[in-house]
């Protein structure tokens, strides 16, 4: 994790006391307790979001999810559980889908992040977005950006030959079968139960 902008390396941060890297305001410093000093730290972090470099100064406790939603106001990425259990916060980081609620924004210095807003717009839908509309692969819409980001990255995993739990032949050609799609998408909960339609939408895109 190298970062040209961050003045404090991860090792330095871990190796020094919180206070030594804290940027304290006078009032907060006077409070003098551990919670106060820890909460007063702000760290700069630079990451590329949807192709644009963004420099943020963040409380290091800020998740990537909250950095996107609250600081960059990219609210397409959803917070369903904040505990890595539902998949609504799925974004693509350096080509891999991740739960953005489970990592801190400062871990992503220099990373390339693609969110749902980076895939398409209402006037220019990404093929996966269009397929979700065509197959009614959503209902309330809250898990939808996560499903779409997950499915776009998931098809690339299959193309790269990354196996899943249901892959029978590890040496053969990997295909986006219905069973593979459903297995690999199982980290994205849709409580409205649009699974059948989501699978149909993904299969459409996979067929090209």
């Amino acid at each position: 994790m190298s970062d040209p902008i961050l003045p404090v390396t991860r090792r330095a941060l871990l190796g020094s006391s919180a206070a030594s890297v804290a940027i304290l305001t006078a009032g907060e410093a006077k409070a003098g307790n551990v919670a106060a000093s820890a909460a007063s730290i702000r760290m700069p972090v630079s990451l590329t979001v949807n192709g644009t470099e963004r420099l943020l100064t963040l409380d290091p406790r800020t998740t990537l999810l909250d950095a996107l939603r609250e600081h960059l106001q990219l609210t397409g990425t959803k917070k369903g559980c904040d505990h890595g259990q539902c998949g609504a916060c799925t974004v693509i980081v350096n080509g891999e889908r991740i739960n953005s609620c489970l990592s801190l924004a400062v871990q992503h210095a220099g990373d390339e992040v693609t969110t749902i807003e980076g895939l398409g717009t209402p006037d220019k839908l990404h093929p996966m977005q269009d397929a979700f509309v065509e197959h009614d692969g959503y209902q309330c819409g809250y898990c939808t950006p996560g499903q779409i980001c997950s499915s776009v990255a998931m098809l690339k995993e299959i193309a790269r030959g990354v196996p899943s739990h249901v892959t029978g032949d590890l040496d053969g050609e990997m295909r986006a079968t219905d069973v593979e799609i459903r297995e690999r998408m199982s980290g994205n909960i849709c409580r409205c139960g649009a699974y059948s339609n989501i699978a149909a939408a993904i299969a459409d895109v996979a067929r090209g």
């Binding site: 409380d59 909250d66 397409g76 959503y138 309330c140 649009a194 699974y195």
Partner: protein
């Protein structure tokens, strides 16, 4: 306008827009992340601070002390509101459990504090510094233990929820063939993907809430009562709702604490309830114990039908009446259906998708399967022999439209039911024991008054405003279709604005009444707009045709746009004639499962629903409603279970990892067929809801398929492998 007789000729009898599969008009926004949900309204008001909720660590008792000092001194904290420093807020007819304030605790994770800070991280950290001590009281948390002291529950509109005809006890005792079985269903959670969320802002004594709520007008009135302020000073705005399933019918702690927090902080406050609080702070579907007794003659004609259901709730809370569908489904001159309630000190039980009926089918439709086997009848044939002429529980009522027989017959054909082996555990596919199951489905089709404003501009564009909500149900699109149809414009010329309490009052979304009610309200407004347009053009509104952006009456032909701008409001009201009918929706549900012969793991292989719900306004989104409900029903059959800690009185598995809901890998391809029916008793559109029909029956079909596959009958839901594994047929 008043709908006071069955629909005759209407302006939508030869539809070109409604009834056609239509991509959702809000789809591009939902799929690009540009549909704004409650917590995401950065644009509506500046200076939003963050609220974080603290929940009670006991289920029943009193707070003895709260130490708030450390939280108040923590960085970034703007305000801390605490139960011990706040008078209990008011209540409303829509709330049972106290929402906030005072030292008394009625249930686990009741909100006891809210920290407001500059950032989410600061609010969360400060909330963790609050120290609370309690005096814990004993409580009742075990339905089976309190069941014997149960009273008959109050009904929706009657003091006692009991229906009886003839003499059930005598008829049952005399019946040649009898079935007497008891089934249990656990507490269940809505677990909608978007948690409760609200941004609250005060402007003087006026309060605006950008929130996530299914019933805007109910909730505006409830909030006025809770906060003891005039309703006209409250605005709710809820254009997109990340799922509700009944969990967002009411004002909950997020809205109350955001309002109180914003007042204390002197700034707008945004709160999303943390997921781990959602399961105990929120409402849930109560557990049931259901006893079904059915007596028949030797030919399988039902002589006596008895369905008793026990559930529990906080004092004043409603019951989960699992017997509701039994009153509508099968004949039997002597019948008894009754809902009992006991006090439990668990979190508040309240409506979840098809309250009563969703879990009622899990008992009744399995009992029917058990009895069919006892009679040596095919389960479909058994049901067909007991098709009633009039409403069994209330024979004064006719059916407004009922095609259950066609649902079952067409379903049997499509599913290949004739291949089912009636002897259980007789089909093997490798390691899988394979079985098929069927269930009938019934869900009432209530309808209620609903209003809308429809405006026409001078470019011929139409705008619909109503406080109706779209909770994923497809309201935006069916409302646009209705307006496009009635005014005769292309769909893309219609804009729909929903969820704002400043708009005319709609039905809201609940009880699967939203689609039928809200589109009828839009119809009423469109009729009024057509009258105004015709008047402006000097035409007869009754004979003028509105089509293709033009208005034609005899030889006169005008461009619709020339009539704009115009704005009309309308509301559909309903006459008493509907009381003569039972308005319901029906389905035949089919499932095929494989059960691992070694481990007892259940895998659903196929699901089919054949539905009778009147006119289907948008087959694309209606199908989604049904498949989604089938998924939730599969969840209640096979995995969903809020586990009660009976010592301390709370739901243990209170997050989305512990409370298991179906995921992609659990659900096969699903097939849905809509019968081509119209119900002229319900509204001019002749359409009924489907969103809850789909959760009434599939779980029972799965349970029956598991039995057919294995010969093991599990009557305590969910049907998990531990309940099967030691009873499975020998594998050798």
């Amino acid at each position: 306008m008043k709908f006071d007789a069955p629909a005759g000729k209407t302006i939508v009898d030869d539809p070109t827009v409604i009834g056609k599969s239509t991509r959702r008009i809000d789809g591009p926004r939902k799929t690009t992340g540009t549909a704004p949900y409650a917590y995401e309204r950065h644009d509506v008001v500046s200076g939003q601070a963050y609220g974080y909720i603290v929940g009670s660590a006991i289920a029943r008792g009193r707070i003895t002390a709260m130490n708030l000092d450390a939280a108040r001194k923590a960085p970034g904290v703007i305000a801390v509101i605490a139960a011990t420093e706040t008078e209990p807020v008011g209540t409303s007819p829509f709330n049972t459990a106290p929402l906030f304030g005072g030292r008394d605790i009625a249930h686990y994770h009741q909100a006891i504090a809210c920290v407001v800070a500059e950032t989410f991280e600061q609010a969360r950290a400060a909330a963790a510094l609050i120290r609370t001590t309690y005096d814990r009281d004993a409580g009742d948390y075990d339905l089976a233990k309190v069941k014997d002291g149960a009273k008959i529950a109050p009904g929706w509109s009657v003091p006692e929820d009991i229906q009886r005809n003839g003499n059930f006890a005598e008829a049952y005792a005399a019946a040649p063939v009898q079935l007497d079985q008891t089934y249990t269903t656990p507490d269940e959670a809505h677990a909608m993907m978007e948690p409760f969320a609200t941004i609250a802002a005060w402007e003087g004594d006026k309060l605006t809430l950008w929130t996530s709520n299914q019933m805007i007008n109910w909730s505006k009135r409830a909030l006025a009562s809770i906060l003891k302020m005039p309703a006209e000073n409250i605005r709710l705005d809820s254009p997109f709702i990340g799922g509700g399933f009944g969990g967002k019918l009411f004002i909950r702690a997020d809205a109350v604490l955001a309002a109180l927090g914003a007042k204390a902080a002197g700034r707008p406050v945004k709160i999303a309830m943390q997921r781990p609080l959602m399961f105990n702070n929120a409402t849930h579907r109560p557990a049931t114990i259901q006893r079904v007794r059915i007596g028949t003659d030797a030919d399988g004609r039902i002589l006596a039908m008895g369905h008793e259901c026990w559930s529990g709730n906080l004092p004043g809370g409603s019951a989960e009446n699992g017997a509701a569908q039994t009153r509508a489904l099968y004949s039997g001159p002597d019948n008894l259906t009754v809902s009992y309630i006991s006090r439990l000190d668990l979190p508040e039980g309240n409506a979840m998708r098809a309250p009563g009926e969703a879990v009622g089918h899990l008992a009744l439709e399995v009992a029917m399967d058990e009895l069919a086997e006892k009679l040596g009848l095919d389960p479909i044939e058994f049901r067909l022999r007991n098709e009633p002429e009039r409403m069994p529980g209330d024979p004064s009522k006719r059916f407004s439209g009922r095609h259950l027989v066609e649902c079952l017959r067409e379903g049997a054909d499509r599913f290949g039911w004739s291949a089912r082996q009636s002897r259980p555990a007789s089909v093997r596919d490798g390691r899988w024991l394979v079985g098929m199951g069927v269930a009938a489905g019934y869900r009432g089709a209530p309808i209620t008054k609903s209003a809308a404003r429809v405006s026409l501009d001078n470019a011929g564009r139409v705008r619909v405003e109503t406080d109706m909500t779209d909770i994923g149900t497809g309201s935006y699109t069916i409302i646009a279709q209705t307006a496009a149809e009635c005014i005769g414009v292309p769909l893309d010329q219609v804009r729909v604005d929903l969820g704002d309490s400043r708009s005319p009052v709609s039905s809201g979304s609940g009880g699967q009444w939203g689609a039928a009610s809200s589109t009828a309200g839009v119809y009423a407004a469109c009729v009024e707009l057509r009258r105004m347009v015709a008047e402006k053009f000097g035409m007869n509104a009754d004979t003028a045709r509105f089509e293709g952006g033009r208005v034609v009456d005899g030889k006169t032909r005008r461009r619709l746009a020339e009539a704009g701008p115009l704005s009309a409001e309308g509301q559909m009201d309903y006459g008493d004639f509907q009381n003569d009918y039972d308005m319901g929706t029906y389905a035949g549900h089919f499932a095929e499962v494989g059960v691992d012969a070694y481990t007892g793991e259940v895998r659903i292989r196929r699901m089919l629903a054949v539905c009778d719900a009147g006119r289907i306004l948008n087959p694309l989104s209606a199908r989604s409603q049904v498949i989604g409900a089938m998924v939730m029903s599969a969840g209640s059959a096979l995995m969903e279970d809020l586990v009660v800690d009976k010592r301390f009185g709370f739901f243990v598995n209170h997050d989305l990892a512990g409370y298991e809901v179906p995921v992609h890998a659990d659900i096969p391809h699903q097939e849905v067929v809509f019968l081509d029916t119209l119900d002229d008793v319900i509204s001019p559109l002749k359409a009924k809801g489907v969103g809850e029909l789909g959760i009434c029956g599939p779980g029972a079909a799965i349970a029956n398929a598991v039995y057919n596959a294995t010969g093991v009958r599990v009557r305590d839901y969910p049907i998990t492998l531990d309940k099967l594994i030691d009873k499975l047929p020998d594998v050798a």
